[in-house]
Symmetry: C2
Subunit: 231 residues, 2 copies
C-alpha cells in the first residue's frame, strides 16, 4: 500500500532518523504549487497529469506517489485557495448576523473560484481553513437559542443551499460559448401547456432575467430566519 507521503509517522517527533528508501525528487508541495500555477494561468481544463508531470520535469505516474488521484489534487488546490482567500474577520456582535456573514463569506470565496464544482463534494468544505467559518455559523445558531443538534442541522441546511447555488451557477457558466443549440430551459418553456401550467406560462418571458439575478443572500436570510423560528 503506497503510503501517500507528506505526513511522516507522527509518533516519534524527535530523532528524525534518516529516511529509508529512494529519496524523493519531487514533493507534494511542488505538485500542488505547480498545479496551482497552471490553473491560475490557463484554467483548470488545461491541468492534466501529463502536463503537470512534464512541467515539473517528471513522469505522470510519479505524481501518484504524492497525490492519490486527480480529485485529491483538486481538493488540495481548493484548500490552498481557501487558505489564501478566506481570512477570518471581526465577527458581528449580533449572532444572526454572524451566521449570515460567515455563510456569505464562504459563498463568496467559492463563487469566485469557478472550477471547484468538479470537487464540490460533501467533505470539500471541511478543509481546515474554512472551519473557522463553520464555527461561526454553528456558534451563531446556538447563540440564537437553538440546541446544539439543531444548530448542526441548521449548518447543514445552509451548506446544502450554498453548495447547490454554487453548483447551479457554475454549471450555467460552463456552457460552451459557441453552443448555439437552445437551452433545455428555452426548449421547455417554448411549448408550455397554458392549461396545466398557468403560473409558469404567465412567467415564461420573465423567467430568464429573474433567474439571472443573484439572490443568494435573500435566500440565505430567509433560510436562517426559518431555522431560527421555533417550530
Amino acid at each position: 500500500m503506497p503510503q501517500p507521503a507528506g505526513s511522516q509517522p507522527a509518533g516519534s517527533r524527535r530523532a528524525p532518523r534518516k529516511a529509508t528508501g529512494r529519496p524523493p525528487r519531487i514533493s507534494r508541495e511542488e505538485v500542488v504549487g505547480t498545479a496551482r500555477r497552471i490553473v491560475d494561468e490557463e484554467g483548470v481544463e488545461r491541468l492534466t497529469m501529463r502536463r503537470l508531470a512534464t512541467e515539473i520535469g517528471s513522469t505522470p505516474m510519479a505524481l501518484y506517489h504524492h497525490v492519490r488521484d486527480k480529485e485529491e489534487l483538486l481538493v488540495l488546490l481548493l484548500d490552498d485557495y481557501a487558505a489564501r482567500t478566506l481570512r477570518p474577520t471581526e465577527p458581528p456582535a449580533d449572532p444572526r448576523e454572524r451566521v449570515v456573514t460567515a455563510a456569505a463569506a464562504i459563498h463568496g470565496a467559492l463563487a469566485a473560484c469557478p472550477w471547484i464544482v468538479e470537487v464540490l463534494t460533501g467533505d470539500s468544505l471541511m478543509s481546515a481553513h474554512s472551519l473557522w467559518f463553520v464555527e461561526q455559523i454553528v456558534d451563531g445558531l446556538v447563540a440564537c437559542g437553538l440546541p446544539p443538534e439543531r444548530a448542526v442541522q441548521g449548518y447543514r441546511a445552509i451548506w446544502y443551499y450554498t453548495a447547490g447555488e454554487i453548483m447551479v451557477r457554475a454549471t450555467a457558466a460552463r456552457r460552451r460559448p459557441d453552443d448555439d443549440r437552445p437551452t433545455h430551459r428555452q426548449q421547455v418553456f417554448a411549448d408550455l401547456d397554458q392549461e396545466r401550467l398557468p403560473r409558469l406560462a404567465q412567467l415564461a418571458d420573465r423567467w430568464a432575467p429573474l433567474t439571472a439575478q443573484d439572490t443568494y443572500r435573500d435566500g440565505l436570510e430567509a433560510l436562517v430566519d426559518g431555522l431560527l423560528a421555533a417550530r
Copy 2:
C-alpha cells in the same frame, strides 16, 4: 452541422415526404432505451458508449448522430426516469403544504436515483415531466401572498437547497467501500483547535451521527417558512 435527428422539421406537418439521405438503422429511442436497461441492470458506471454500441449492434460513433454526447444521453435518461416515477398527485389545499409536498416529491425521486449527480446541472430539473411540480411550488408561493417575482426567487432557493442536498448525499454514498483511508472530515476533526473552535470541538463526536440523519424535510420547511415571512 449534424442535426440531431428525432424532431423532424416542424413546419410541414402533413405531406410526410420521403426522408432524404441514408435511412437510419438505429433510433434515439433505441439508444436511450438500451442505455436505460444497462443502467438499471448494472449501474451507471457500466454505461459506456462502446458497450452501448455493441449492445445495440452498431458502432460507438453512430450513437453520436442521435445524442450530442454522453451527457445529453444521461439527461435523457434522467428525463425518462422522471417521466416514469414523478406522477402528479392531488395537491393539498393549503398552499404552503403544496409547496412542501411538491418539493419533497422532486427530492424523493432524485434521491432514489443515485447516479444523477453526474447530470445534476442547472437545467436538469427543467425537464418537461417535472414542470408540474415546479408549477405547484411557484403557484403555492403566490397563493401564500408572495408577488410572482419573489415566488420565482423562492422556487430557486428551494431548488438550490434540494440540489445541494442530493449532491452531498450522492457524493457521500459514492465513496468506494474499500476506501480505508480516513475521511477528510475525520482527518480534520481529529485535530481540532479547542481554543479557536470550541463549538466544533464540543460537537466533534456527535458530528458524524448528526450528519447521517436525513433532515431534508426539516430544512425545507424552515426555508419555506422563512421565504413566506415578509421581510
